[in-house]
Symmetry: C2
Amino acid sequence: MNKAIVLASRPQGWVKPADFRLESLAMPSPKDGEVLVKNLWLSLDPYMRGRISDAKSYVPPVAIGGTMVGQTVGEVVESKHPGFKSGDHVLTSLGWQTHGVAKGTEVTKVQARPGMPLSYYLGVLGMPGLTAYFGLYEIGQPRAGNTLVVSAASGAVGSVVGQLAKASGCRVVGIAGGKAKCDYVVKDLGFDACVDYKAGKLNEDLGAACPDGVDVYFENVGGQIMEAVMARMNFASRMIVCGLISEYNATEAYGIKTMRSVLVNRIRMQGMIVFDWVNRYPEGIKALSGLVAAGKIKYRESVVEGIENAPQGLVDLLQGKNFGKQLVKIA
Amino acid sequence: MNKAIVLASRPQGWVKPADFRLESLAMPSPKDGEVLVKNLWLSLDPYMRGRISDAKSYVPPVAIGGTMVGQTVGEVVESKHPGFKSGDHVLTSLGWQTHGVAKGTEVTKVQARPGMPLSYYLGVLGMPGLTAYFGLYEIGQPRAGNTLVVSAASGAVGSVVGQLAKASGCRVVGIAGGKAKCDYVVKDLGFDACVDYKAGKLNEDLGAACPDGVDVYFENVGGQIMEAVMARMNFASRMIVCGLISEYNATEAYGIKTMRSVLVNRIRMQGMIVFDWVNRYPEGIKALSGLVAAGKIKYRESVVEGIENAPQGLVDLLQGKNFGKQLVKIA
């Protein structure tokens, strides 16, 4: 049987495990040009909150009763496509299920290498890493000596943003929740400083960590953290709006009161989604692989065991309880 | 005597005429390299609200007791600079006074031409026109067929933005307060539509005026109008943050709840101040002069008589009571 997690109800506000349901489905069978994949790893990402909401977005939402969407890395167990054979490892969009059928054109072969396990293709070498790479360089345009701030700094995107910026000569300041994450960001990832937003003095701590203001801000969270950083941005600074996770479960959006800083400081703020650079993924993967191999990018994973625990994994991720890239180990 | 308006007190919230004081000063005398100018026209502009506030900005505020800042067009009445003679007309930064002394290097000769009176150098051929020109083209990057929305559409900046965008092949929608301004924008300036924000159904009217969404938004006002337009912006749209006049007198900033649109639609939002292109003013003036001469840009002035009435003129401007570029006729 193929076990799948489907959307049971459209959540209002915070997502609950009960918004999902485990179903046992018939094992699918590949047709010509298709492959049957046994999923090994599932990626959990903040964007998934948007996919289960019916607010207008860049793609239609998951239907009630539909299998949850998401990227996986899996193993081909039956191939009717000449380009694949059993045992090949592939990156797929098969979603929250143990097995699935995809066209050969819809999956990408990936290969584990020393120091780069298969799961990395869902993280540092996958969408989060590419989000960091293209957002930082294409919109943020960091220069040596700049101060860069990144929120959700210990997460899959934030940790890569900060390490890329360090490698590019920036002073890098993270924002994260709690001492453990902040310690990790500074001691393990090499950021210059990290502000614990849960410590209750965000503005003061941010000021101390950014004595020369902020030149590049990579935004993953929105809300009060966005306001606090915007108020410290420098002339001609850049702001990458990559995520607003603090708002994804809110029933009303937070009102940002620092638009004046955009005007006075001539901030350039731009929204991004990694798909915008889909034709350049090979460039990004090559660059990121090289930096991982050279030890310039370190990377941490947070693993939930079993497809049946994926809903709780997403709930924890949206509440910031994960520590590093959130994965589900399916098999 | 030289009559000048000085700042009497730093206003909190709405500006009042009593925040200013008329003073009679000794007639200044030019030294070598300087000219004595008799001011003819004074420009009143929304940015002046910022100059009398002590909030951090891009220049220090006017001191209490200091002469109000502003651009004027005047006539040289005594010259100790070889480049100027009595009777020359000049653009100055002498501020709210009937006379003033400036270095020859600090003033620019201007010349009235048929259809282009001297006062135009404070408006369509001056800072407001250049603000429209550089903001629209450098940040907005309008393309034929785009829908452009501009707020404060009948004002000195907005009216030029809209006409430039029309000349560049855009569908142009203004936002203005009241039927008279909206009629002017559509019937006299040739905008495709104008939304009266005072009519009480901003969202609905904006939707009707922009059936294909918004590709470029030139923001002069901020607040609820900014939110309403942001919610309708298209993929890869551009937003020029030129002014936030709705907030200049507010004691608390308005909270913008539409940041999600920046993310989902990949909006590029950028703050601007015309000084950013100071080295390119001649290019802008040449382009604008040509369009005015060709009848492609029409232009309206709102005139207050006498330096003593300048404070009331600024109060009215900040409340949106002016209609077209606000000037003070000094002599």
